[in-house]
């Protein structure tokens, strides 16, 4: 009998390895730009907090159950001297105990679950709440501020410490909107207006993308959220509401002309011009953005030129076709688009 238990004691290495593995797994948590475990706002914090509660309870159950399994398997290993073990059929009291204990554990999880559902689902209202409509397209995100008259794409700006009420919709297929560090995700379904709210309590840049398979470039449908100070946000709003003046720089002016004469106007809107298309992103203040092509690329002149040269080549399946632009035309367009601050 002694040697059976000894087996376990002689293998502390196994426990150390397992603990090490668990530590390794957990150590990677909360460090990435799209991590759900580094919340920067109250909604995200509450949800991540509930996640952590359940996670650690699961770790305890894991250690107990796996430990019991390992112990049992080793302790009752067959030895040649074994006869037939006692043919025990069951134990009613044990059955009751190991039914009730899981139910109690689940109650501990269920109560905060329901209260968190309630708080996340109660959309704040009133004059202090910023309203944003999020519309998913194949494969970019549109952001509209109905009370501010702003339409933009790829990035959403919100003031710090302010409740933001989002209405999430889709223009084509089902997408899913998620900025992990601020709140949980919700689907963008055509013909539905799904509502959620979030709040950013840290100033900074937060990453998000589409989480529901939506076609060829599902992986390339990303966005950024900028949580700004009240002053910066107000400045941004003012800039976005302004109609850009026609460009004075000759290269940019040439680009404006090319833009108006080519197919661009059929899909894009630039306020103050004849471009009134709504199929593609609104480009009125394109110059002030930090990313392009559904936040797939950083907005650099080189990336923009690469995009204009062959959109489907950069983003497979892109609805923006290859327009066969020459390098000169691209250079001018880049200058024009950069000027749209």
């Amino acid at each position: 009998m002694a040697s059976r238990v000894h087996l376990l004691r002689r293998r502390p290495l196994v426990w150390i390895l397992l603990a090490g593995l668990l530590a390794l797994l957990i150590s990677g948590c909360g460090t990435g730009p799209q991590s759900a475990l580094a919340p920067a706002g109250p909604v995200g914090m509450r949800e991540a907090g509930l996640y952590n509660l359940i996670f650690w309870m699961a770790v305890v159950v894991f250690v107990l159950v796996e430990g019991l399994l390992l112990f049992t398997a080793l302790r009752f290993r067959r030895r040649t001297s074994d006869g037939i073990p006692s043919q025990i059929h069951g134990n009613t009291r044990l059955e009751i105990v190991w039914t009730i204990i899981p139910v109690l554990i689940l109650i501990v999880i269920a109560v905060p679950t329901i209260t968190t559902i309630a708080s996340a689902s109660t959309i704040p209202q009133g004059p202090d709440v910023l309203k944003v409509t999020v519309i998913g397209h194949q494969w970019w995100w549109e952001f509209r501020y109905p009370d501010l008259g702003i339409v933009t794409a790829d990035e959403m700006h919100i003031p710090v410490g302010t409740k933001v009420a989002l209405t999430v919709e889709s223009a084509d297929v089902i997408h899913s909107f998620w900025v992990p560090r601020l709140a949980g995700k919700i689907q963008a379904i055509p013909r539905r207006q799904n509502e959620m709210w979030l709040q950013g309590d840290e100033i900074g840049e937060f990453y998000g993308q589409c989480y529901q398979l939506c076609g060829t470039s599902h992986a390339n449908m990303r966005f950024r959220v900028f949580v700004q100070s009240k002053a910066d946000f107000d400045a941004w709003v003012k800039d976005q509401q302004a109609v850009p003046a026609p460009p004075t720089d000759p290269e940019a002016a040439k680009g404006a002309q090319i833009f108006q004469s080519k197919a661009c106007v059929g899909c894009h809107t630039i306020a103050g011009t004849n471009a009134k298309g709504t199929i593609g992103p609104n480009l009125t203040h394109f110059g002030s953005r930090t990313t392009i092509a559904g936040a797939m690329l950083e907005k650099t002149d080189a990336n923009l030129a690469m995009w204009l040269h062959d959109p489907p080549g950069v983003k497979p399946g892109s609805i923006m076709p290859n327009l066969g632009l020459t390098d000169d035309e691209i250079k001018a367009l880049v200058a024009y688009l950069d000027s749209l601050k």
Binding site: I26, G28, C29, G32, P33, Q34, S35, A36, E47, L50, Y51, I54, F55, V61, F62, E66, L68, L69, T72, F76, R77, R78, I84, P85, S86, Q87, I88, G90, N91, L94, E95, W98, V103, I109, A110, T113, I117, A120, Q138, V168, V173, I174, S176, W178, P180, G184, K185, I186, Q187, R191, N194, Y211, L213, C214, G215, T216, H218, A219, P316, G317
Partner: protein, 645 residues
Amino acid sequence: MATAEHAATTHQPDRRRYEGIWSWIFTVDHKKIGVMYGVTAVCFFLIGGIEALLIRSQLMFPNGKVVSPDQFNELFTMHGTTMIFLALMPLSVAFFNIVVPLQIGARDVAFPRLNAFSYWVYLFGGLLLNASYLFGGAPNAGWFGYANLTEVPYNHSSYGIDFWILGLQILGVSSMAGAFNFLVTIINARAPGMTFMRMPLFTWMTLVTSFLLILAFPVITVALVELMFDRLFATNFFNPAAGAEPILWQHLFWLFGHPEVYILILPAMGIISDVLPTFARKPLFGYPVVAYSGVAIAFMSWGVWAHHMFSAGLGPVANAVFSVTTMLIAVPTGIKIFNWIGTLWGGSINFKTPLLFALGFIAMFTIGGLSGVMLASPPADWLENDTYFVVAHIHYVLFGGTIFGLFAGIYYWFPKVTGRLLDERLGQIHFWLMLIGMNVTFAGMHVLGMEGMPRRIATYPPGMGWDTWNFIATIGAFTIAVGMLVFIYNFFASVRHGQVAGPDPWDGRTLEWSIPSPPPPYNFARIPIVRARDPFWVQKYGDAGHGHGRVVPMPVAGGAHDAEEARADEHGEGIHMPDPSYYPIVAALGLAVMLAGVILTNLILGNPPGTQPAWPPSWVAFVGLVVFLYGIYGWALEPVSGHSS
């Protein structure tokens, strides 16, 4: 009483006896059909595995260029569809086929020709689904095919979705036919004295799974018919442009989909509920509780479907209700785990490969179950849903759970089917490679998910914190592949040169171990009378386990009146087994061709995908109809051959 050699005669009149490959194609013997299911399922498992290796190769590094995004979408769609419908479910059915009649003391299933038909329909459905690769592209909208991405406006560059609809509908016919068969068999064909509470647990789970199959498949059939009508005939069940709600598809799919995952796990739970007692030499602890937990899980599985839709915006009431029902279903599942550990406790555990896989099942399924509880809370789920956290969860329960359970069954029952044991050393190597491989692959995916990596993305940029675990996961995937190579080698080597097993290599507890390995065509020369649970064990050791393991003769139905009659009965003379028949395969072929002829009308007529209306159907449909009608007409009126002497 088991004898080492069985009668050479097949008891069929000459005109209905087939040799070689034809004896397989026209067989109605549940054991042969089960073997065909098993071999075919493992082949599809390997195909699904290759699709997985391609996926993991593409995701090994950021900005991968192994496959294009469209190809990637096809790969994960086919990986999921293949693994679930063409590998895991049919492998379970292989065991239903081979094992259940033997466990209940029956000579075959209730409807042998329907059994053969189910297999051929499955094979043709699986081949048609995979043919999509050759005809312009495989389905690409995920194994769950959410509308309206599957509708023509957003999916018309290939016929892939049409192939997907066709494949699943055909497989649905196969699954339902099989389910009816096993249901009737278990209810009607149990040996005298085998009450429900004396059935082996695997047979119990087969019964419960069959009920689930019969009730769940009509739901997806309806959904697929509606999608088919949208694509072929311009109806608008899921088309938002015409005022429909695409979320309807999600409801229908998951109402099927959640019972489906219990269809996937319950058979494996049944297998290990038989394996653990055998290798611990103790009865299943809490047998009635384990059996009723399975029944409870089956009932409750109908009330949880919307936990797949927590982020679809159903509202706080729906989310809260489904959260509670989902948490509740964890209770019977946990109860089973404790009862399995209770089976091992106080036992005398023999660490053979079936037992290793059974232990692996408990360990891995516990992890998957715990991540399931983490998914049951909607606020936590809003952080986990559609990320690699869910990929980790599903693979812990389906790979660590179902696949480990199925391999336990393969190592356990291979000697019964072939008469030879699989090599034990190679089995252990296979087990450890799979256990280590799957943990290396899927453990880190929990982290990937919480770090925000979405599912179903063809690539990812560097700098997201996802590089390391993706790299490691790919290493793990190839480790699993090596394990599978070891198994395949073991399989072929053991079929030919494996150690001879005899009727009872494991000192088993249930009836299948009381007959020769491989069993004669009629299974039992004399149908046994069952007087207890674990009847064979009781026969060997008595109720309290005090016997010496000598096999004493089993009481049999219709006792012989004298020694000579008893001898004759032992050789199986006078037993009439169902005749082989070619109508099942003919009917299966006709059905598959007919459905293909309707659903693939555009492909056959050379119209672009999504051309509407796809009516009238192509000529292929009418050929298929004729063959199908011939098949069932012949089946219905096929004469039974005369009784043998």
